[in-house]
Amino acid sequence: MEEEKGDFEPKIVGFTCNWCTYAGADLAGTSRKKYPPNIRLIRLMCSGRIDPMFVLKALLNGADGVFIGGCHPGECHYIKGNFYARRRIAALRTILKQFGLDNRVRSEWISASEGDKFARTMKEMAEEIKQLGPNPMRDKIL
């Protein structure tokens, strides 16, 4: 695993909600939008289901980035799940910021009709993480 910055294929774990972002990813696929294959999506029913511990665990187990996708605020299938998610993610990223890990975690609101936005976000994120280099936790014995 002697990869240099910019020259490695990052592994990104994505937590997406069933109703918006996962459907958005589906749309990106069915409309044949191209985006880098670095993301591994995990579908949850709602972004409010994401326990920040999922994100921590992914990072500590060597994921180079974590993506979180949900419905636009105000458009949650469960009315307010993503409002709670937003507060949790903001708190978690504030903690991670102290250790310089916050830029490995990114969240976006992507609706079921935004296949384009999903593909664009994946491109941007893969590029950002490539610039950051591999997760320092990856080769550690933790």
Partner: protein, 353 residues
């Protein structure tokens, strides 16, 4: 606020009165055992002796709120403790781990405290109460205050039902809530309008505390965090003594959080090698997230660490950053919702990416 002024020695009668008049069924308050100060749960008023010599004693052992955590009882218990402990009790009320109607929170001015073992050892020099000049003098002799107290901005009693403040060689007792004022009337204290706000003194404490906070070593990278936690043996004492860590069954006591046997072997196979005991970093990062809005910065975690890890530089310092983004001060008001139980329609977008 409604209150009155008492002499130090009148406090004994006041506390006895609370029990005698059935304002409370029991009191949790400090008492002295030799050089040491610890808490007692007292129901017989005759067991209260010279409280004025202990309630202001600059000694921190346990957080009193941790003692009453989960007490969903109908009896009424008065808690006489420092601001950080009462703030923790207020957070517990919000977390539904304490019945608001069954506690009478009596907050006592704090001057900053020493670890209880340091206090007992140096009792002859420290005495029953100290002021900022005395603390400086003791620091010169190498007896330093707990780090959590050095960075504490909320030492003056200003929350709870009743406050007991030290003013000009006397004590000011005042009720902040209806329950507090009723309790004071029940023990027949002559109540008048009393101002125990003490703005200037507060500003001075805040300035000093922020200066000390700025001087603390920072943990600013993954490597620094690993180094910081190097000696952690995962005894989880920091969790057990934390007044606001309250899960009935902790994730890190369950198979997923505390893997053993075959699970552990599988994990080791997956990664080649893993640190054991497992999940050290995950434990502390998860815990700091769990307490990030409710941490009252009492420093009990640091005191309890058998390896002497200065956890004040981790838990309260990180929690404060999170509390800043929600503009939330834990323990200020039992009516204010916890940040994770509420939301605004538009907020925090700048913190997400």
């Amino acid at each position: 606020m409604k209150g009155t002024e008492l002499k130090y020695e009148d406090l004994e009668g006041f506390f006895k009165g609370l029990l005698e008049n059935n304002v409370v069924d029991a009191l949790i308050m400090p008492h002295r055992v030799g050089n040491k100060v610890s808490y007692m749960l007292v129901r017989d008023k005759e067991r209260i002796a010279s409280p004025e010599s202990v309630i202001f004693a600059p000694s921190f052992g346990v957080n009193a709120a941790n003692v009453v955590k989960g007490w969903m009882i109908d009896n009424k218990v008065g808690i006489v403790a420092k601001p950080c402990e009462i703030r923790a009790a207020i957070e517990l009320i919000k977390l539904k781990q304490l019945n608001e109607e069954s506690v009478l929170l009596i907050t006592v001015d704090c001057s900053g405290a020493f670890k209880n073992e340091d206090y007992a050892e140096h009792y002859p020099e420290i005495g029953n109460l100290v002021d900022s000049a005395k603390i400086k003098e003791l620091e010169g002799k190498g007896i330093s205050m707990r780090e959590a107290c050095a960075i504490c901005e909320n030492r003056l009693a200003d929350i709870g039902d009743i406050i007991i403040a030290r003013v000009n060689g006397k004590v000011g007792v005042a009720g902040l809530t209806d329950m507090g004022v009723e309790a004071l009337s029940a023990v027949e204290l002559p109540l008048e309008d009393k101002d125990l706000e003490r703005k200037e003194e507060k500003e001075r404490i805040v300035a000093e505390a922020r200066k000390r906070l700025g001087e603390l070593p920072r943990i600013d990278s993954v490597e620094a965090l690993e180094e910081f936690l190097r000696d952690c043996i995962l005894c989880k004492n920091c969790r057990d003594v934390c007044p606001v860590c309250y899960c009935k069954e902790c994730f890190f006591d369950q198979p997923l959080g505390n893997p053993a046997g075959g699970d552990l072997l599988n994990l080791a196979e997956l990664r080649g090698a893993i640190e054991v005991p497992a999940n050290q970093l995950l434990y502390h990062l998860t815990r700091v997230y769990h307490v990030c809005t409710t941490c009252v910065a009492c420093g009990a975690c640091e005191d309890a660490c058998p390896k002497g890890i200065p956890l004040t530089r981790f838990y309260p310092v990180l929690a404060q950053k999170v509390q800043e983004i929600f503009e939330y001060v834990p323990g200020k008001d039992a009516k204010e919702p916890l940040p994770f139980t509420t939301y605004e329609d538009e907020e925090l977008e700048e913190c997400l990416r």
